[in-house]
Symmetry: C2
Subunit: 221 residues, 2 copies
DNA sequence: CTACAAAGTTAGGGTTACTTAACTTATTTG
DNA sequence: CAAATAAGTTAAGTAACCCTAACTTTGTAG
């Protein structure tokens, strides 16, 4: 049986290894899901028995083919709900993630396909993440850099926000930064790796922690 | 804390006492939720401690004001979702109940208000049940009789189906019977209390069990 | 009014998912 | 490479919610 917590662990393994590479640590999962390491260890044992993850004690976790298939299904539900909530029901950027976090576990394939169709088979969610298709394929994202690695003087557009906390979303909204907004990199401070950018004619600075989360693609070099 | 099972118990108390009258029995709740009497007894103790129901051992259950307020909120979520799934996403009459049964527990007031607005503040759900308004008020239903109690020779229209099992919904759909469809009562058999009716020029018979579930209002006497 | 059946409750136990505390393994660093 | 620290696991226990079995209360039929 795949319960709701199990779905959350599987999704966590996928998203953590999607950015990083290969094996996922117990620690990272525990932090993401805000549970103890003990809980993650215990769950790893069970998911491994179910054939959803590869798990060798002390050696880290990776998804099996079966686990990955499941992860993609959950992400599909999550991301389609997010887009639906924004586009059809008018929720805001900062609200949709938490809602989708719950709805994703209670949506049949039939219903999510209807939502997909209603939205015209979109490829990206409101944060710029690719939406897995019905067949499990992931739309290819454009070539991106982290804003923290961008070149001084170049212009970019925001393609993906790799964090979905309400606080960050609200902040970005408040400064007028949305997906596809143009960002020009003015300067970097090597003291703390913060960046200075121009957005809608206003100059703004981001800490490295924020700049790391903003994936951008080049418009003008 | 109000958990999902607790919401289901509270809703069950409300809907059972809405048709019947006054106190609700442990038995009826257990049957509705498909759990043992023991589970219901145990839950009654807890809900009573929380001030959601009035409960005296062996004497039956009723909602407190606080419990009723909660029940109406849950019904609002359930019924708005049902209508939304049919009207906006094109699910069928027989599918929406089970979907809504799950979504109802994962919908914030903010989201359900958006859905309400999107649908134009409807008063009745796809089965003809009144949708509680944001303030907790229940729209008044038209004067209805059970089809099993209707008068031979009179014409009626279907106003409410008091059961939402997939099987019944599919059957009604298959014979072309929808909400607001005209039904003329041709005859009754006192042998088994079955009824003979005309729907869309076709003659059909219903067992008493089905006829009891069909609420109709008079068109022509 | 008694006795029997139906309804309701309590006791004891199972499952899932979580916690903290104690312990083990792996990694880093002087 | 040894010692210290970080990461990971196991053990023991808790909270919900459910079950079956045993028991108690209530309502009814004779
Ligand atoms: Mn999200
Ligand atoms: Mn329903
Ligand atoms: Mn439910
Ligand atoms: Mn309904």
């Amino acid at each position: 049986m795949v319960t709701i917590p199990k779905e959350d662990y599987i999704k966590a393994v996928f998203t953590i290894s999607f950015n990083g590479n290969g094996k996922v640590s117990t620690k990272d999962i525990s932090e993401k899901l805000e549970v103890s390491n003990a809980a993650t260890s215990e769950m790893a044992r069970k998911l491994s028995l179910q054939g959803l993850i590869n798990y060798e004690k002390y050696k880290g976790i990776s998804l099996t083919a079966k686990g990955e298939k499941l992860a993609l299904k959950i992400l599909r539900r999550h991301r389609l709900w997010e887009l639906f909530l924004i586009q059809i029901l008018g929720l805001s950027w900062s609200e949709v993630h938490d809602q989708a976090e719950r709805l994703e576990h209670h949506t049949t394939e039939f219903l999510i396909d209807k939502i997909d169709e209603h939205l015209g088979f979109p490829e990206f969610d409101p944060h710029g993440h690719p939406i897995p298709r019905k067949n499990g394929q992931l739309p290819k994202q454009p070539e991106v850099t982290a804003l923290s690695e961008a070149k001084i003087g170049s212009s970019y557009k925001l393609v993906c926000v790799k964090d979905e906390s309400k606080e960050l979303m609200d902040y970005l909204t408040s400064i007028g930064l949305q997906l596809h907004t143009e960002i020009r990199l003015i300067n970097k401070l090597s003291f703390d790796d913060s960046v200075f950018v121009q957005i809608n004619k206003k100059q703004i600075s981001f800490s490295k922690k924020i700049a790391d989360k903003l994936s951008v693609s080049v418009i003008k070099n």
